[in-house]
């Protein structure tokens, strides 16, 4: 599987992007969504997903809430905050400039 540093650093970006499209997802659904939309190329490692979620929650980019599921169990769902939307914009433009730079290097080399 593709598991590069670039991806690691960009876990935040992926999570924010997923949540901006589909609000109120729980951790597993976010992970599954990253897998689905990337055609199973990208896969967030389960162990690092939750610390990342908590970090973003403390930073105020996402908001969490316990909901009761049909099965009777509780689940913690996440959604984007206003600060998170701004952060997403910043991360996206950073990613674009980085990938543009990488592409340029690849072309030149």
């Amino acid at each position: 599987m593709a598991k590069t540093d670039a991806l690691q650093g960009s876990l935040d970006l992926l999570v924010l992007k997923i949540l901006s499209r589909r609000p109120r997802l729980h951790g597993y659904a976010i992970m599954a969504a990253i897998g689905d939309t990337s055609g199973e190329v990208l896969r967030a490692e389960e162990g690092s997903l939750y610390p990342a979620l908590y970090r973003m929650e403390e930073a105020g980019w996402i908001r969490a809430e316990w909901i009761k599921k049909d099965t009777g169990r509780r689940a913690r769902v996440y959604e984007l905050t206003a600060a998170g939307k701004k952060q997403l914009g910043a991360e996206e433009s950073r990613w674009r400039s980085v990938s543009l730079a990488i592409n340029r290097v690849l072309r030149e080399a």
Partner: protein, 887 residues
Amino acid sequence: MSLWSRVLNAMRGERLNREIEEELQAHIEEAIASGRDPREARRSFGSMLRRREASHSIRAAGWLEAILADIRFGWRQLGRNKVTSAAAVLSLAVGIGSCVAAFRLIDALLWRPLPISNSSNLYVLSRKMIGLYGRPVEDGHWATPEFKLMHDAVKEQGDLIAISDADRTDVTWAMDGSDEVEKAHVAYVSGNLFPVFGLEPALGRLLTPADDRGPGAEPYAVLSWDYWSHRFGRDPHVLGGSVHIGDQAFEIIGVGPRNFSGTEKGTVTDVFLPLSMNKSASQESMTWHRVFLMLKPGVKQATAIEPLRQHLSAINHAFQVSCSSCFHGATQRDIDRFLNQQLVISSAGAGVSDLQKDYRRYLGILGLLAALILFIACLNVANLMTAQASARAQEMALRISIGAGRRRLIQLILSQSALLAVLASLFGAMFAAWSAPFVLSLVNPPDNPARLALPADWRVLLFGFGLIVLVVLLFGLLPALRASAVRPVAALKGGEDPHSPRRLMRGAIALQVAFCFLVLFMCSLFVRSFQRLQNRPLGFSTDRLLLLETVAGKGRLPVVWNQTAEALRATPGVDSVAISGWPLVGRIMINSEISINGAPPSPTPAWFLNVSPEWFSTMKIPLTSGRAFRPQDTSPGAAIVNEIFVKTYFPGQDPIGRTFERGAHQPLNKIVGVTADVPYHDLREPDRPIFYVPFDETDDKTLPTPVGFATFTIHTDTQNPLALANSLRQIIARRNNGLRVSNITTQLDLVRDQTIRERLIATLALFFAAVALLLAGIGLYAVLNHSVLQRRREIGIRMAIGSPRSGIVRIVTLDVFLMIAIGGGTGLSFGFGAARFFGSLLYQVKATDADTMALPACAILLTTLVATLPAVLRALRTDPTEILRAE
């Protein structure tokens, strides 16, 4: 939000862990539900515990969790030694409470800025000169004509404001329809006061410069918010009502802002009147109000003050030189001395009052005593913590060997100290909340109490917080550093150098004894000074003497006063009645120049009093020669003088029959008798030359002159003379002859009022001395007890090899007594140093008196004996066999 949620999460660590666990569990179940192999799903998660820890540390503030854990641990530690912890908390509480209370008083009286705009730009003008008896004096009072000159001269740089002292005055509020006379503090202020101070009315309007233009032109009064509240219950209908003061009526035009009660700290001004409404305002020689300077915004304080001072000084000098009525009858020498005065501008953002001047050093001493008590308490607790820490050396060693860092250990011990300090400060705050107003209530005579706002605002809180930090560092840091420096190998082996903590504790004991000695030394000085002053021979009787200070509007002839005295004499319960111009040792003192045989006045003035013939027998002041006054004697004419008067003006001569004048070219007074010396105004001062003249005065055509005020001195046959006061006052009122009792007191109260400051500081010093002794005793007991426990192996061995009991007692107590000797010596030198600072507050007592040193030394020795006894007994009861078997 983020920090807050992390702090919150730290408070509920267990619940947070459960939540994280639940979420991770839900994830795995989701994975299984979506068809993944349960074992693979779990494995891909890695170590559940590690994930949880990582997540936990993101979501909760770690430092806070550690501190919370330390505090919980510290709390349990304190709970383990309930008695010692309670003693530590209580002694710290007394220390912290005393310090905070002292700070509240000092801050309120001396430091807290007035509630006005730009209080830091406010200054006060005064003059330094050489007063009577060659002593330097500072006079803060000015004549209104001079104030106006100076005001106009410095208009560009600042505003000069005149404010009279808020005197307790008889007022009548006409709006109630009654003519009841009551007391209120009335201040006359220049019209620019309220605008320059930036004050807004709570009701109506305030005085403006337009209200202060001419004598008698604008009879307006402004009430202070405080007076409006407690006298009128904030009734808005007071506006337009009127108040009678003397023979003037003033219309109430407004109420001042909520906090403002004048510039005289310690007195709450009730009524503000325009300066020019006072009759003194037109007199050149009447210095009767203070002058403040408010710099204009934008004027640089550093550079503006000195030129202003020189400018004002020149105006002052010119005014004094040209003042035609100022030096009426004075000698050239006195005029020169008076003109050689220096104008001083001092900062006055915290207001100016006599109370500040009188109590500045007393409050300094109060602060010093409170700080010493706090130090002693801190040393006590430091010893306690050191003892506990050395008992916990093994625990510390264990913590270090399983990887606790030095910082973590210091934090552990310091948080226990902080817990102690915070607990103590809670009790201390309660103590301070009670004690500060209580001490303030002892400051002035009960009928005219000092009033200060003592708010518990951010200034007090900040001070309290700073104090807690200081206290924690004082008593916690050293034990914490020591404990963290434990070497695990040595400690786990069974103790390193057993003497080192004891050395530290002994040093603390020596320091504690030194501070304790200093407190006792000061207490001994103040108590003895107070006793001396209180037992000073007066020369007159205070027993059963009622004083009715009586006023008579524009004055009544002496015959009216004498008839009233006659009516009082006929009342049952009254032994004798006399009249004097004013009472001895009261507020009034008037001096007069003495000239003999038409010569220029002598350099020392004498003090005088008008008295009726019965006055000497009523006051029980014996005549030493000559005769008393007769009813037909008048003034000028006959005079009775005291012995110092004879020594000063007629040394070595028989004074009877000789004459003197009150200033050059005045009528003659013939001495008919000599009395014993009595204090005239101030108990602390040596007796002064006094002459008595008959109460009945005549003018230069030998016609009787009216008397505006005098005091009936009444000897009653009841133990409590005040019991008769009301009926006697009504007798005077019913005569409807224009006489009215303005104030009722007793001669005993006047004498007592003289010693209020000494009584207050002696009482406080006694309290602090008792606390200091108690704390030092507890400290000694704890240290000795600890040392005996620590050395019981050594003691057991010594006993086993045949050491006599006296030897055991010696090794247990020797170094303690050495410490006490060192501490006592240090304390004594502190005491001499401190006495230099407050020596002038003492009455006939010196720091070097044997009594002053003997009392504290005895008290400390006695305390030491009591405190060491239990430890010595414990040492002697040591059973060597038991100790050795236990090893």
